[in-house]
Amino acid sequence: MADKVPISISVNGTKHSSLVEPRTLLVQYLREHLNLTGTHVGCDTSQCGACTVHLDGMAVKSCTMFAVQANGSSVTTIEGVGETGNLHPLQTGFWEMHGLQCGFCTPGMIMSAADLLKHNPKPTESEIRHGLEGNFCRCTGYHNIVRAVQHASGQLVAQAADD
């Protein structure tokens, strides 16, 4: 068996030192070693985006990199984005605009949308749709996900949710 490798990763501001097999995917490390189960796995070919986290401030698919590759990096997962009472604007947007149904794609969707807004704070509808092309949702038809991102970017002020 390949030797386990020591890694040190800061996750949501907490430093973790662990021994992992090289083949442990970052998403498996987060879910199974750190019990951060908010990051999900929806496919095995890097399309669905349910596993999206931020690695050194950049959105990546945590199912398509090994935990050893994140050694020395800092990772932010959905658990580190905001919490009840102190939600991130995107979390608020998804809640207000009913941008989720089963909730499974939601963490990845929020992490991906956060990356989009970081680089483009007021995206058009078309930019939002293209910006989220790496995230699948089977429940919402993306209608309210688009609105959630518009809400988070301050583009839906005082508009009713169903108009």
């Binding site: 068996m1 390949a2 030797d3 490798v5 097999e21 090289p22 083949r23 995917l25 498996q28 796995v41 095995d44 070919t45 890097s46 399309q47 985006g49 999206t52 950049m58 959105a59 990546v60 698919k61 199912c63 398509t64 990199m65 090994f66 050893v68 590759q69 050694n71 991906s112 990356d115 989009l116 910006g131 092309e133 790496g134 995230n135």
Partner: protein, 262 residues
């Protein structure tokens, strides 16, 4: 979900990478990993070791050296997409990078990884051929530079030999205009047909297509002035998504669109 077991070597220089390659002949170089890791997860590939070259500082970045733009092999698609140097001097590359995969793929994927993998439906090979780019390939015995025309040898096959690695991409900085038009696979969003057209300083136009055939190829008829019938369907791939005949038609359509924007 798990790959087979492998040893992991992270290297910080080309020399270290080449040494590690020599020590592990069965090893694979790991760059952005977006082609390799899914293949390993499906256990279609099981290298005994991965040599992580993605963090080699010397292989990152885009710089101008005289009349040549030098792109480090580990430069990500995102860096290419947002490079102001490329936007000014070689807009086809940022344009193309923006069409690769999705934002997360672009954040990790690298130009060197994409070129060395030589997926027949990858985007860059078309622009490399049209730009007349060349690739710097290094091994323990030294470096050599291979023109794009001699780099892509077939499906998943390049001029990079065992024990070698692609380190730099050299692009002429004095091209006069360029454009890329892609007809994407609806599911994978790889190119079914992607046509790159570049107008060069001497007034000549070079063009190439990716996705349509087993590997990217020059569109010599277009370069000679033809506007349709640019490729022979007999030379193209054919599958349930796009027949060879349809791909041949798309080459004409995409070429027309690209030419209009050069």
């Amino acid at each position: 979900m798990y790959t087979a077991e492998f040893d992991y070597h992270k290297v910080s220089s080309v020399a270290d990478a080449l040494a590690a390659l020599a020590a592990n002949p069965d090893a694979k170089l790991l760059a952005g990993g977006h082609s390799l890791i899914p293949t390993m997860k499906l256990r279609l590939a099981a290298p005994s070791a991965l040599i992580d070259v993605s963090q080699i500082e010397g292989l990152k970045g885009i710089r101008l050296e005289g009349e040549t733009i030098v792109i480090g092999a580990m430069t990500t698609h995102r860096e290419i997409e947002h490079s102001s140097l490329l936007k000014e001097k070689c807009r086809i590359l940022p344009e193309q990078a923006a069409l690769i995969g999705d934002p997360m793929v672009r954040n990790k994927g690298t130009i060197g990884g994409a070129l060395a993998h030589a997926d027949p439906a990858a985007d860059y090979p078309a622009s490399m051929l049209a730009l007349g780019a060349s690739m710097k390939i290094e091994s323990s015995s030294g470096a050599r530079v291979v023109s794009a025309d001699n780099f892509f040898l077939g499906m998943f096959q390049t001029a990079v030999q065992e024990g070698e690695m692609l380190t730099e991409i050299h692009i002429p900085a004095n091209t006069l205009g360029s454009a890329y038009e892609k007809f994407a696979h609806p599911a994978s969003r790889y190119a079914i047909v992607g046509v790159a057209v570049v107008k060069h300083a001497g007034g000549n136009t070079r063009a190439a297509v990716t996705g349509a055939g087993a590997s990217a190829m020059r569109l010599t008829k277009l370069e000679a002035g033809a506007s349709s019938g640019l490729v022979d369907a007999a030379d193209l791939l054919s599958d349930h998504v796009a027949s060879a005949e349809y791909r041949a038609h798309l080459v004409d359509v995409m070429a027309r669109k690209a030419l209009a924007r050069v």
